[in-house]
Symmetry: C2
Subunit: 417 residues, 2 copies
């Protein structure tokens, strides 16, 4: 492929998208099964390539948590194949009729789901994203152009080769899966500026990566991910719900975007709830960054600064702030939230309904854990990402968010009067 340019790859993907758009649901399921089998059969080659990435990462001095995200072992390769089979089993969104009616003049209008065409993805270290995104794109009838992180370069190269080989064997054009990893920065630039070739671009990774893509891209982008998530403890919050939900939202998996980062406690409830929630968190190893009131109620509090309110820790750290009123809590959220998920713990239905109405986030909750903001938990069966923008998709995205629609009009000679 060495004589190709990034643009060649985009053109090949566009051309291939005409073929993938016409595949039946069964065709696509068969192609994905072929990919799953090929991943299993080539596990040794994947793990070997991944070993070279890990070796290079170690000599470049990247941290152990990144090394862990980068690692593919036998179990993880098996999980990758299983994830592909799970996507293959999802209902095909393509062809679903989502609207329509007969015009007064008799023209029959029908709005149907169609693939986007070419899905682009720019992402960071984890090589499993290479397979996940390709599987989701193919299931929804799209071709895909991938740009992974340089840390996983050898792993990604092998994964793409395996997927292309499997497609070929299954009678689907291998050009439906493209990578631009071998062009370095030029590959990413081509993706971001591929007007007419990239129908939608999904960045997945750090806030910095997403910001770069959103700012630089001239193709349509779906912004995903960053979650500075809040839980408000209302005056009426029951002890057990407050404690259980905050601990669950912080501790169950701290490194993900739906984990809570800041707890806002109404002043009247602070003496009751702050010690209770804080000690439950501390017994799980959570470091508490608190304001003066919190520091007066709990020991071992790290004084919170302005930065804490804006920080997505993604770790066993949490910020706690005491606010005078629900209005103050709503103001704080308006200022610092990334629009991902917020929850209030309350038994006061006025406050619950006000929170649901006024918080402008993708998911707004009452009395439940923010960890439920997840495609799997929402019943979509797959994790395309969580959109924090308002255009096209908001919140957890299912397969149908990787499709567009078109209108079909069937007439019998009608003209406009």
């Amino acid at each position: 492929m060495t004589d190709q340019t990034p643009q060649t790859r985009l053109e090949l993907a566009k051309e291939a998208s005409r073929a993938t758009a016409r595949l039946t649901s069964d065709d696509k399921a068969r192609a994905l099964e072929a990919i799953a089998v090929a991943l299993e059969q080539n596990a040794a080659a994947i793990i070997a390539a991944n070993g070279r990435d890990i070796e290079r990462g170690r000599s470049d001095g990247i941290g152990e948590s990144l090394i862990d995200r980068l690692r593919l072992d036998e179990k993880r390769v098996a999980a990758l194949a299983a994830a592909v089979r799970q996507v293959a089993a999802l209902p095909d969104p393509v062809g679903r009729v989502v609207g329509g009616h007969r015009m007064p003049n008799g023209v029959a209008l029908e709005q149907v789901r169609v693939p986007f065409g070419v899905v682009g993805a720019i992402y960071e270290a984890r090589p499993n994203v290479t397979v996940d995104i390709a599987a989701l794109a193919l299931r929804s009838g799209n071709s895909v152009v991938l740009r992974g992180g340089s840390a996983a370069r050898e792993s990604n190269t092998v994964l793409v080769e395996i997927m292309r080989g499997a497609l070929q064997a299954a009678g689907v054009t291998p050009e439906a899966v493209q990578t631009v990893d071998d062009f370095g920065r030029d590959g990413a630039t081509a993706l971001m500026h591929g007007r007419g070739f990239i129908d939608v671009l999904v960045p997945r990774g750090s806030a910095g990566l997403i910001e770069t893509v959103v700012t630089e891209a001239t193709v349509p982008v779906i912004e995903t991910g960053a979650g500075n998530v809040h839980i408000v403890l209302d005056e009426s919050a029951p002890d057990d719900w407050a404690q259980d939900i905050v601990v669950n939202a912080k501790v169950q998996r701290p490194s993900v975007c739906n984990a809570v980062e800041t707890v806002l406690v109404l002043r009247q409830a602070a003496p009751r709830l702050v010690p209770l929630v804080a000690s439950a968190l501390q017994s799980e190893g959570v470091a508490i960054h608190g304001d003066d009131v919190v520091a007066g109620l709990v020991s071992n509090v790290i004084p919170a600064t302005e930065d804490d309110w804006a920080t997505e820790y993604l770790s066993l750290d949490i910020a706690i702030k005491v606010v005078d009123t629900l209005d103050d809590a709503l103001d704080h959220i308006r200022r610092y939230s990334t629009g991902h998920t917020e929850s209030i713990i309350t038994t006061d239905s006025r406050n619950a309904e006000r929170f649901l109405a006024e918080v402008d986030s993708a998911v707004v909750m009452v009395n439940t854990s923010t960890r439920f903001t997840d495609g799997g938990e929402f019943g979509f069966g797959a994790e395309v990402g969580i959109s924090t923008q308002k255009l096209h998709a908001r919140g957890p995205m299912g397969l149908s968010e990787l499709t567009s629609t078109k209108w079909l009009a069937r007439g019998a000679g009608q003209t406009r009067g």
Copy 2:
């Protein structure tokens, strides 16, 4: 307002959007009625300001067709008010429940329509767009920031003042309607880069304007408009349908995006259909730009060049090309279409279904006029624009395309296991 910056206006609009989002359907209808009445009562002031724009336009030497698009007379002001009342009567999309279910653990999920927040609009000469877009944005619970063409500056200033005054009188914050016209180029730049303030930006105008906005904006954009529209005359196309539909699609209103620009005729049908269709067009004053085959069948044909296939004439000009096969027609469309609307005239159901499946445009038609691609004709009751992108909205946009959704989750203490 002279001490404000463009950024101030964006901030005021964002702040106002919190209030407009909470207006009831009745509140919004009353506010729009107040705007309609104010437009009628201030018709003289509007026409006077418009007169100054026209005078300046004449002395700047702009053409008569532009002057006509710029002009507001009594009849057009009355039509503006009527259009506002029509929007006020549309069903309110906000609050509509579009999805939801109960999670296995009992959490109740509900996906509801919510306003975007702040809608930005960048558009050209026609001052009626100022009122149209503001009315549509307000009806769907949004605030709006407007950037009109400099040719209509005085008209737009007065229209915005009238709308703000009417909102104030109706008890709605006037900050819900903002203009950045008085900042010239800086106003447009602020709109395009207003991340965190502009939730969606809709450019309306020439292909050049749209291209600039799409390329430069870092906020989400809905691309509208450009229509290099094709009609294919299949071998089986009946004489009357071919003639009536092509003439209607070209002549009924040549200056709009859904007018046909190129007709592709299958070679076997060319001797039958080209003379018939061409003479019907010529008798309506249409100039025909044709290839050699067309020139051999019809007199007064302007030789078509590569440019003709790519041109959106928006005038009484049409390009006609003879192609060997349906595949060639599909290739031509793939190459030159802007993805707006294409139609095939055929009684061969195989060709009809293939055309519907393979043409990648917002609206794909069989045996009917491309002039039907229109929000009003589609029964949406309003004209937000016609999206030619695939993200969020495709084809004619109704009010609900000016909304997003959010998920509401109501629980009773559930945590994730």
